[in-house]
């Protein structure tokens, strides 16, 4: 395995993140504060506890997931799309690296960035609400798996996208609605029965539910199912990426 190449890609991508640290760091902190002010304080004060948890605390896992999923997708998609856009992809394609090494480098960096942002949001939330994390290791595991799987998805989007509009298309039109409708700001038990059933077709529900369980020990769906869902999603993304590199889809003529 070309460890040197993985390290180079990873360091290079992380350097981009640190070049724009203010934007990378301040933006999620600011948006989290706004969410807490709007949902936690203004609206949340009129809502009773959800599953025995104050509404302000209840939305923390959802908020983290919202940012982590969107950041993972956009970081990874931009990371691989940009070399395609400016033409530097030639270097990657002519280097002695295989698909796994490229993926570990790019996806690893994107996942690290979004993990960092997730932890920053978590730290910020301590200023607004009292939270006790009941299953910290499970919380880290869910967070890591979500960062990885959505970075893999972002990588696929970055390979597929032919222009900047397409790069934004899936995150805006698919991921954001699924996250909002996946129980980020509510428990699906609050929905009418028919909508509860429909919601279960949203894969994001399982991720948010599992992540919330790690905080409060309460979940909309069984934690095992959540783990299977996120594991399956990760494998599916890996399979698609393997196919992309095997066929050269949109990268190798």
């Amino acid at each position: 395995m070309n460890i040197s190449a993985i390290k180079s890609i990873y360091v290079y991508e992380m350097a981009r993140f640190f070049r724009t640290l203010a934007q990378s760091f301040l933006s999620p902190v600011l948006s989290t504060c706004l969410y807490f002010v709007v949902f936690g304080t203004a609206i949340g004060s009129r809502i009773d506890t959800v599953d025995g948890v104050s509404y302000g605390a209840f939305i923390v896992p959802g908020l983290i997931m919202l940012s982590v999923m969107t950041q993972s997708t956009s970081n990874a998609s931009f990371g691989i799309y940009f070399p395609k856009f400016i033409g530097t992809i030639y270097e990657l394609l002519s280097a002695p690296v295989n698909f796994l090494e490229i993926v570990i480098g790019y996806v690893g960096a994107a996942a690290t960035k979004s993990m960092f942002i997730g932890l920053v949001i978590l730290a910020t939330s301590f200023f607004f609400v009292d939270i006790t994390i009941q299953h910290p290791f499970a919380m880290i595991a869910f967070l890591t798996l979500t960062c990885l799987s959505f970075s893999l998805l972002g990588f696929i989007i970055g390979i597929w996208a032919g222009n900047f509009e397409q790069l934004q298309l899936i995150p805006l039109l698919v991921i954001t609605p699924l996250v909002f409708l996946g129980g980020s700001f509510y428990s699906i038990s609050m929905l009418p029965p028919i909508w509860q059933t429909i919601t279960l077709f949203n894969p994001v529900v399982y991720l948010i539910s599992g992540f919330r369980w790690s905080f409060f020990g309460e979940a909309d769906v069984d934690v095992t199912i959540s783990l299977i869902a996120i594991g399956g999603f990760t494998l599916l993304c890996m399979a698609v990426i393997w196919w992309i590199f095997k066929t050269g889809y949109k990268i190798r003529s």
């Binding site: 070309n2 040197s4 190449a5 390290k7 180079s8 890609i9 360091v11 290079y12 350097a15 981009r16 070049r19 940009f82 070399p83 400016i86 033409g87 530097t88 030639y90 270097e91 990657l92 394609l93 002519s94 280097a95 002695p96 690296v97 050269g248 190798r252 003529s253």
Partner: protein, 308 residues
């Protein structure tokens, strides 16, 4: 001299049905500089891209240093450095970090002393911390060369290396290429500039419509295909070539003051001696005489036209 690259019956047909390479076969010797000449769309870049692993061939095989580019891609790619035709660099990155990145990508451990050496050699050391977007076009091209050399390749592909580069920088690059050759690097360059091939190549390959038309030692090529022209300046201009000289197929210069005689320099008899004797008999007086070798460009244009 051992073979460094062996291309055998290489074909590339794109999805659109366009046949970019039609069974190309070529052997490139270790340590030589070979220039691939050809018009736009001839297949030069496709050939290079395929050897480097960017383009997947439809059929045929390529060995680099005895290794197959598909089966042993790690070995072959480690040996190759590529300077692409287009300037493709990340604009916000510093020169030194993008060169270091390339070295790491090709599996080499960090070596600041070597990076400094190549940056100095390419007159980039003063700009090592500059962002790529702050550099001129010529400097960016040097950065591309530095990136390609960063992992100490044994083979260097230069795809139109001096396109859009001013004359001075072009000469500098030729010096760099000469130094690389002296250090044993095999160099394959594609170019539109015939003078570039004439200046630095050991062998010339002419490619058109996805086919190699010929590969020849530069000197041999120019000797074999080169025609010479004899220019005879006259003391008094003439209106037409005298009938007595018709057998020589002479051309008259536009001002009528010179006669032009084209001949095969490699032929047994050039006809110059009898021509000069007949000139005197025709009553013409010479003031000067000079010969001119046809350039590689003339040869190239002639070859491409012939095949069309």
């Amino acid at each position: 001299m051992s073979v460094m690259i062996k291309v055998d019956n290489l074909k590339k047909i794109y999805g659109s049905g366009f046949e970019a390479l039609k069974g190309v076969s070529i052997e490139i010797k270790k340590g030589e500089i070979i220039a691939l000449l050809g018009p736009n769309g001839a297949g030069k870049t496709t050939l290079i891209s395929t050897i480097c692993g960017i383009t997947v061939p439809s059929s045929g095989s390529v060995l680099v240093g005895g290794y197959d580019i598909a089966k042993d891609y790690r070995h072959t790619r480690e040996m190759i450095g590529l300077v692409p035709q287009e300037i493709a660099l990340e604009p916000f990155e510093a020169v030194i970090s993008t060169v270091r990145f390339s070295r790491g990508l090709f599996g080499k451990p960090r070596n600041d002393a070597y990076i400094e050496k190549i940056l100095r050699q390419l007159s980039l050391w003063d700009k090592k911390d500059a962002k790529i977007r702050e550099l001129s076009g010529g400097m960016k091209r040097r950065v591309l060369i530095a990136k390609a050399l960063s992992h100490e390749p044994q083979v260097l592909f230069l795809d139109e290396p001096t396109a859009g580069v001013d004359v001075e920088l072009r000469k500098d690059m030729w010096d760099v290429v000469s130094d690389l050759k002296a250090s044993g690097v095999t160099i394959i360059l594609t170019t539109h500039y015939i003078e570039e091939a004439e200046e630095i190549a050991d062998r010339i390959g002419v490619i058109n419509h996805g086919e190699i038309l010929l590969v020849q030692e530069k000197e041999t090529l120019m000797q074999q295909l080169g025609q010479k022209q004899l220019r005879i300046d006259l003391s008094e201009p003439v209106h037409s070539v005298p009938d007595a000289l018709a057998q020589y197929g002479l051309d008259l210069a536009p001002d009528g003051a010179s006669l032009l005689y084209t001949y095969d320099a490699t032929g047994e008899r050039t006809g110059i001696t009898t021509l000069l004797a007949d000139l005197q008999s025709a009553g013409l007086v010479m003031t000067d005489i000079q010969t001119q070798q046809s350039s590689l460009e003339d040869i190239f244009v002639g070859l491409v036209k012939e095949k069309q």
